[in-house]
């Protein structure tokens, strides 16, 4: 017994001409959690506009770099449409197709978690490395901070963001922090115990 509109899947499919992957599950509390994979990240804005009309609230945006899947099926998909993805990769603003997004651990999966009258709907868009995604701020003001955080954690670009400054990280820190290995000693800026020891010894010599 879902509170999502009965024709939700049909309306979402109509809003996303490139194709969608829809699934929904209702738990024993009667709360439905639905997932909508978009074949093309370009369909994000029309889908979001439809959801806004339905009174949805943007709850969270998650960006991740999914690891290489082990299922053979998806590997095949990747090979089949790899050429298409490469052809489209040249112009920067053109969002890439879902099937053509390489699952090589560098492309991004961006999940937009919506709340519709208590039920959860997650819209999933795939963006290849170096790609970009449209900002949702014209539709959902509260996408602002989520997108700013996404931009500093990953190298993903958000187009038309009204205020693309750093959110939490200082401007002096290199971007895409979740995409590279940062040694703990560098992270905490205290260096290793050895570095600290050397500094202490040097300081002591200077004093003596």
């Amino acid at each position: 017994m879902s509170r999502l509109p009965q024709d939700l899947e049909a309306r979402l499919t109509a809003a996303a001409p490139a194709g969608v992957e829809f699934s929904a599950e209702t738990d024993h509390y009667g709360v439905t959690v639905a997932w909508l994979g978009l074949a093309s990240a370009a369909d994000l804005s029309p889908v979001a506009a439809l959801l806004k009309d339905m009174g949805a609230r943007l709850s969270m945006i998650t960006c991740a770099q999914p690891s290489v899947p082990e299922e053979e099926e998806e590997d095949e998909d990747e090979e089949n449409e790899d050429g298409e993805a490469k052809a489209e990769a040249a112009p920067k603003e053109t969002p890439k197709t879902f099937g053509g997004t390489p699952f090589d651990g560098t492309s991004y999966e961006i999940d937009y978690h919506f709340d519709i009258a208590g039920d959860a709907l997650t819209v999933i868009a795939y963006v290849p490395q170096g790609g970009s995604i449209a900002s949702l701020t014209p539709l959902f003001r509260n996408a602002d901070w989520h997108e700013r955080e996404m931009m500093e954690l990953y190298a993903v670009k958000v187009t038309d963001h009204p205020d693309p400054r750093r959110l939490f990280l200082d401007a002096s820190v290199d971007g895409a922090v979740l995409e590279r290995l940062i040694p703990f000693s560098t992270l905490v800026n205290a260096a290793s115990t050895k570095g600290l020891w050397e500094r202490l010894v040097a300081g002591k010599k200077g004093a003596a």
């Binding site: 959690v33 943007l58 969270m60 998650t62 997650t122 509260n142 901070w145 954690l153």
Partner: protein
């Protein structure tokens, strides 16, 4: 009249370290005379990279780690995280565990709300009453310490249930403490409705209209005080909330007073829920007494923390560590609404208005 040429607008910094803010946040506020004309929020002073850290810990270690994201809603994090893991693995929490989760949740809500409203009274300048309210909160803190052994990080949650149990003696003790807090809270509500000092400082101050609340997507008491009648406990029930007499309080004025009043009323509701839970507490095990591997999958779970909706996204793979954990706390949504609340506010009210969203920084920045 003075003929000196003074600029009409000034820019003043509030924070990052400011006597009235509990945690570091930097507001750059443009004022015209005594009135706020524009604000800019600069965050990041408590960013610790916990999101990254979760992918280096095992699922079971993360229950401990997520509890340390924040102190006031420390119970909501491991609970929502555990709910996501249970959803992926198809784990059913035993009935007693479900009720005990609710008990821990509501105890934390009572003390969290009391703390925030007490701070409001402090910022109003009514120090005696602030001391009194902290004393009332202390009954709740003593209760947490007696039951869980800790005042803040109560360590009640685990994947598959809870890590604590109640016996007749502890139930009787909790009931006694609740009676005391209830009587005091009713008194506090009466004071909030009648005391001139509190009413003059908080009524009609820092207003967030219903339309702005929807635009900002605010959650929790901030949303409910602006007429957004939404509570995860009712809208998307979890734990034992589907069978409890939950009352959701909402007001329409959207001012500092309304937000405090929603919190105070919620304390009484929480006390009522706690009594029902303790009365109906089923027997049996409190957890599944097992640590199964969490299979690959993804889940989205939500819960109502004292400050509003907490949402967790969890993706697991074949390793013991999760592939991605992402969460968003209520305050992350509520900061933005300050731009509306502080617009045209008086300088003297800034700290009070900021406090009225019950900000939690270590949660927001992770």
């Amino acid at each position: 009249m003075s003929t000196h040429n003074v600029p009409e607008t000034f820019s003043i910094p509030v924070g990052p370290l400011h006597v009235a803010l509990e945690e570091p946040m930097y507001f750059k506020i443009d004022v015209q005379g005594e009135t706020v004309s524009h604000i800019d929020i600069n965050a990041g002073h408590a960013h610790r990279g916990i999101e990254y850290l979760t992918t280096k810990r095992t699922m079971y270690q993360n229950v401990v780690l997520t509890e340390r994201i924040c102190s006031l809603c420390s119970n909501s994090h491991p609970q929502t995280f555990a709910m996501a893991a249970e959803k992926i693995a198809g784990i059913e929490v035993p009935e007693r565990g479900i009720y005990l989760r609710t008990v821990a949740d509501e105890m934390k809500r009572v003390t969290s709300h009391l703390f925030n409203v007490a701070l409001l009274v402090h910022l109003v300048g009514y120090e005696t009453y602030f001391m009194h309210m902290m004393q009332v909160r202390e009954i709740g803190q003593d209760m947490l310490e007696s039951i869980f052994g800790n005042r803040q990080d109560i360590g009640a949650m685990c994947i598959g249930g809870v890590r604590y149990d109640l016996d007749d003696k502890s139930i009787a003790y909790i009931k006694g403490a609740l009676d005391k807090i209830e009587a005091e809270t009713k008194d506090i509500i009466k004071t909030f409705k009648t005391n001139g000092s509190i009413l003059r400082r908080t009524k009609g101050v820092g207003v967030l209209t219903h339309a702005d609340a929807i635009t900002c997507g605010v959650v929790g008491p901030v949303a409910r005080a602006s007429g957004v009648d939404y509570d995860v406990r009712r809208e998307a029930p979890y734990a034992a909330y589907d069978r409890l007499p939950l009352v959701v309080h909402s007001l329409t004025d959207g001012d500092v007073w309304s937000r405090a009043m929603v919190r105070l009323e919620e304390i009484l509701t929480s006390i009522n829920l706690l009594r029902v839970c303790l009365r109906d507490l089923p027997g049996g095990p409190v957890n599944i007494n097992d640590r199964p591997d969490i299979p690959p999958g993804q889940a989205v779970t939500r819960s109502e923390a004292p400050r509003g909706e907490v949402i967790y996204y969890l993706r697991t793979n074949d390793t013991p560590q999760p592939e991605r954990v992402k969460w968003r706390v209520p305050t992350f949504m509520n900061w933005d609404s300050l731009r509306f609340m502080l617009q045209d506010a008086k300088i003297a009210d800034i700290a009070m208005i900021v406090n009225s969203i019950d900000p939690c920084l270590s949660c927001t920045e992770r």
